[in-house]
Amino acid sequence: MAKAPARAIADPPIPNRERPGEPLPFEATKEQLLDFYKQMLLIRRFEEKAGQLYGLGLIGGFCHLYIGQEAVAVGLQSALDGDKDSVITGYRDHGHMLAYGIDPQVIMAELTGRAAGISKGKGGSMHMFSTEKRFYGGHGIVGAQVSLGAGLAFKHKYSGDGGVCMAYFGDGAANQGQVYEAFNMAELWKLPIIFVIENNQYAMGTSVNRASAEDQLYRRGESFRIPGIQVDGMDVLACRGAAETALEWVRAGKGPVILEMKTYRYRGHSMSDPAKYRSREEVQAVRDKSDPIEHVKQLLAAQGVKEEDLKTVEQAIRKTVNEAADFAESTPEPDPAELYTDVLVETY
C-alpha cells in the first residue's frame, strides 16, 4: 500500500475563537511623547526620592519602587477614559497613582505616614486609593486585586456605565489560585476587564522560570478562552498600542483580555531586598539597552526636541518631587483621635 504523501507543512492550528489583532505601536505626536516623558520621569524621580527618604527613616515598613517599569503604567493608563474606567493594582502602586495624575504631595505624605496623606496616614505605601480618580488601590495581599478587579468590572457591566477595569498584577501573583478563579468568572460573564501581568522577571527573589511551569504568562488565560498578548513593557508606545487593542476588544463586549508586559525592575523587590538573586551586570545591561525613559528621550531628540528643553522638564520635575518630599517631611502626623475613625462607616 502506498504511503500517503507527507505534508510539506503542517496546517496551522485552528484557533478555538477569535483573537484581537496584533497591536501596533502608538503613533504619538511630539506633545504626547513629551507628556509620556514627563510622566515617566516624574515616577522615576519620585521613586528615587522615596528610596532616599526610606534610607533616612522617614518612610517605614515596606516600600516597593516602580523604577524601570514606568512605561507600563504610563502607556496603559494614557489610553483609559478617566471618566469611567477604573484601575486596581497590588502593593507596587506609587507609579500607577502618579500616572493617574494624583498629586505627588499626598502620595509622598502617605509614605511618611502623615495626616495629609491620601489615606490620612493610615494606609502607607501599599494601601493608597483615590475613588475620585477611580483608582481602587493599592492592595497588600498578592493576587487579591485580581478578584477585586473582576468585581469592579462586574460593577461596570451591572450598571452599564461603559467602563473597563484595568487590573495589574505581577508575575508572582500570576501563580495565585484566585487569579484563575477570577479569569474563569470574567470570561464566563464577559466582564470588561484587562488583566495586566507586569512581568518584571522576579517574584521577590524567584525568577519566573523557577516558579512558573508556563513562563509565557500571556498564555495563562488559554484554558479560560481569554486571549493574551505579550508586550514590550519597556516601550511606552508599545504599551499604549497594546492598551488600545485591548480596550477595543473589551469595549466591544468580547470579554477580558490579558496583557503580559515584559518589563524589569531595577531596584530590589522592596527597599529591604539586597537583590542577591541576580547580577549587577544583568541590571546594568537592561538600564543601558532598554531603559524606557532613555528610549523616549531618543525619540524626542529625533523629533527635534532640544536637549535644553528636556533639561528644563527635568528641573521642573525635580522641583515637584522635592516639594513633595519637603511637604511629606513637614506636614503633621495624624491626630491621635484618628486612631478610632474610619473603622466603620455607620454608628451602631
Binding site: 493610615k122 468585581g151 474610619d342
Partner: protein
C-alpha cells in the same frame, strides 16, 4: 407479610413532608430503582425510589397529603408470591377518605402535628436533634418597633431571610445576590427561592464553585459602589474566602482613610449541622467577631433574621451574617409591617427574669429558653438574653441584666477557647465585677472536632441539661 414502606427522611433535619404525587398505583409491580412517588420537603421535591421488588398492595397516604411525619407508613408492598389483593384495599384519594392519620394531620397546623399512630422511624438521638427541637421555643417580640396590635405572621427563618433580600432588592437596584446554586437551583438550602424569577439573572447570579474568587468579585463590586449579598453554601466553605472578608472587605475603609467603602453582606449557614462531621460543623462567630471593621450578626428567630438582614443590606459596612441551618425550617412570628428593620448591635431580652442571666445567640437561644422553662419548675427565674449581634457586642444589655440578677451563664454552640462566651466573661470581669455573686460560667461545646457518630455528637454539643446544671451552680443550688 407485606413490606411497609415508610415516609423517608430526605435531609438531615427533615421531620415531615408532603406526599406530592404517587407514580404507582395499587396492583402495579415495582422493582428496585423504580420511582414510586414525589415527596416535597421544605426545601425541594424529591423522587422516592423503590428498593424492594413486589406489587403495590395498598397506598396508605393519599397524594397531596401534607405534614406526613418521617417514618409514617405510606404504602405496603406485597413481595413476590404474596397476594397483593389480600391486603385491605382502602380507597386512597385525597378528597375521598384518606387514611385516618393523614386526615388527622390535615386538620392540625404544621407546628403541632403529633406522631401518628404508626410508630415513627426510630429517631436517632443526637445533640443536633436536641438543639433543633429546642428551637421550637419562641419569645414575644418586645422590640419597641412593633406597634400595639400588629398582626403576626408565622414565617420560617428561611422565608424571612428570602423576604428580607427580596424587599431590599425591590427597593435598591444596587443590591444583588451571588453564590453557588442561588439562582436556578433556588438555593442549596432554598433561602433564595423565587428570587431568580422575580429579579432575573442580572441580579441573582450563580457562581462557579470558587469561594475565594467570588468573595473577591463581590468585595470589588462593593468597592465599586454596588451592594452585594454573597451567599456561602456554608460558612465552612468561606474559609477559602476569609482573606477577602477580612483583608479586603473589613480593612480597606480604614486603610484608605475612609475613602473605600465596602457595603457587602456575606451570609450563609454557620454552626453545627446534623451528622455532617467536623469539616461541615463549626461556628465562626468568634472568628469574625474578633475583627475590627466587620459587623457580625447571628440571629435566632425569623423576625430577627428578617429585620437584621434588611439592616445588614442597608449598612455601609461589611457584614458577616451567620445563619443556622437547623433553624431554617423553624417558624416564628414575624410582625406584618411594611418595613421591618431592626437595629444592629442591640441585644434582646427573650425572657425576663430576676435570679440569673443566661446570655446566648443563634441556636443556643432555643436551648437557653428550654433550660429557663426547666429552671422555672425548680423555682429559678432566669433572664434569657439573645445577643443577636456579635460585633459590636451589646455589653450594656448584658451588664444591665447582670446588675439585676448578679449571676451570669453564657451559652454558646462553639468551642470555649477564644469564644464569645470568653469575651463576655472578660467584659463582665472588667466592667461588672462588683455585680457578680458567683463566677461567670460558660456552657460551650466540647473542645474536639465535631464527631459523626450520633452518640459522640450528642456528647460534644451543648444541651439544656448542661445549661440547667451551670445555672444551678452559679445560684449555689
Amino acid at each position: 407479610m407485606p413490606i411497609e414502606i415508610k415516609m423517608p427522611a430526605l435531609s438531615p433535619t427533615m421531620e415531615e413532608g408532603t406526599l406530592a404525587k404517587w407514580l404507582v398505583k395499587e396492583g402495579d409491580s415495582v422493582k428496585s430503582g423504580d420511582i414510586m412517588a414525589e415527596i416535597e420537603t421544605d426545601k425541594a421535591t424529591m423522587e422516592f425510589e423503590a428498593v424492594d421488588e413486589g406489587t403495590v398492595a395498598r397506598i396508605v397516604i393519599a397524594e397531596g397529603t401534607d405534614n406526613v411525619k418521617v417514618g409514617t407508613v405510606i404504602m405496603t408492598l406485597a413481595a413476590e408470591g404474596e397476594d397483593a389483593s389480600a391486603a385491605p384495599a382502602a380507597p386512597a384519594t385525597k378528597d375521598d377518605s384518606p387514611s385516618p392519620d393523614a386526615k388527622a394531620d390535615e386538620r392540625k397546623p404544621a407546628d403541632t402535628v403529633e406522631d401518628s399512630a404508626h410508630p415513627a422511624q426510630e429517631k436517632v438521638d443526637t445533640g443536633v436533634r436536641q438543639m433543633f427541637e429546642a428551637a421550637g421555643h419562641t419569645a414575644e417580640i418586645t422590640d419597641p418597633q412593633v406597634p400595639e396590635g400588629t398582626e403576626m405572621v408565622k414565617t420560617t427563618v428561611r422565608e424571612a431571610l428570602r423576604d428580607a433580600m427580596a424587599e431590599e432588592m425591590r427597593a435598591d437596584d444596587r443590591v444583588f445576590v451571588m453564590g453557588e446554586e442561588v439562582a436556578q437551583y433556588q438555593g442549596a438550602y432554598k433561602v433564595t427561592q423565587g428570587l431568580l424569577d422575580e429579579f432575573g439573572d442580572r441580579r441573582v447570579i450563580d457562581t462557579p464553585i470558587t469561594e475565594y474568587g467570588f468573595a473577591g468579585v463581590g468585595t470589588g463590586a462593593a468597592m465599586g459602589g454596588l451592594r452585594p449579598i454573597v451567599e456561602f453554601m456554608t460558612f465552612n466553605f468561606a474559609m477559602q474566602a476569609i482573606d477577602h472578608i477580612i483583608n479586603s472587605a473589613a480593612k480597606t475603609n480604614y486603610m484608605s482613610g475612609g475613602q473605600m467603602r465596602c457595603p457587602i453582606v456575606f451570609r450563609g449557614p454557620n454552626g453545627a449541622a446534623s451528622r455532617v462531621g467536623a469539616q461541615h460543623s463549626q461556628n465562626y462567630g468568634p472568628w469574625y467577631a474578633s475583627v475590627p471593621g466587620l459587623i457580625v450578626i447571628a440571629p435566632y428567630d425569623a423576625a430577627d433574621a428578617k429585620g437584621l438582614l434588611k439592616a445588614a443590606i442597608r449598612s455601609g459596612d461589611p457584614v458577616v451574617f451567620l445563619e443556622n441551618e437547623l433553624l431554617y425550617g423553624r417558624s416564628f412570628d414575624v410582625p406584618k409591617v411594611d418595613d421591618w428593620v431592626l437595629p444592629i448591635g442591640k441585644a434582646r431580652i427573650m425572657k425576663p427574669g430576676k435570679d440569673v442571666t443566661i446570655v446566648s445567640y443563634s441556636i443556643g437561644v432555643g436551648l437557653s429558653l428550654e433550660a429557663a422553662d426547666k429552671l422555672a419548675d425548680e423555682g429559678i427565674d432566669a433572664e434569657v438574653i439573645d445577643l443577636r449581634t456579635l460585633r459590636p457586642l451589646d455589653t450594656k444589655a448584658v451588664l444591665k441584666s447582670l446588675a439585676k440578677t448578679n449571676r451570669l451563664v453564657v451559652v454558646e454552640e462553639a468551642w470555649a477557647t477564644c469564644s464569645i462566651a470568653s469575651e463576655i466573661a472578660a467584659v463582665v470581669m472588667e466592667e461588672g465585677f462588683d455585680d457578680l455573686d458567683a463566677p461567670v460560667l460558660r456552657v460551650t461545646n466540647e473542645d474536639v472536632p465535631l464527631p459523626y457518630a450520633a452518640n459522640l455528637e450528642k456528647l460534644a454539643l451543648i444541651d439544656s441539661a448542661r445549661i440547667v446544671a451551670a445555672v444551678k451552680k452559679v445560684c449555689y443550688r
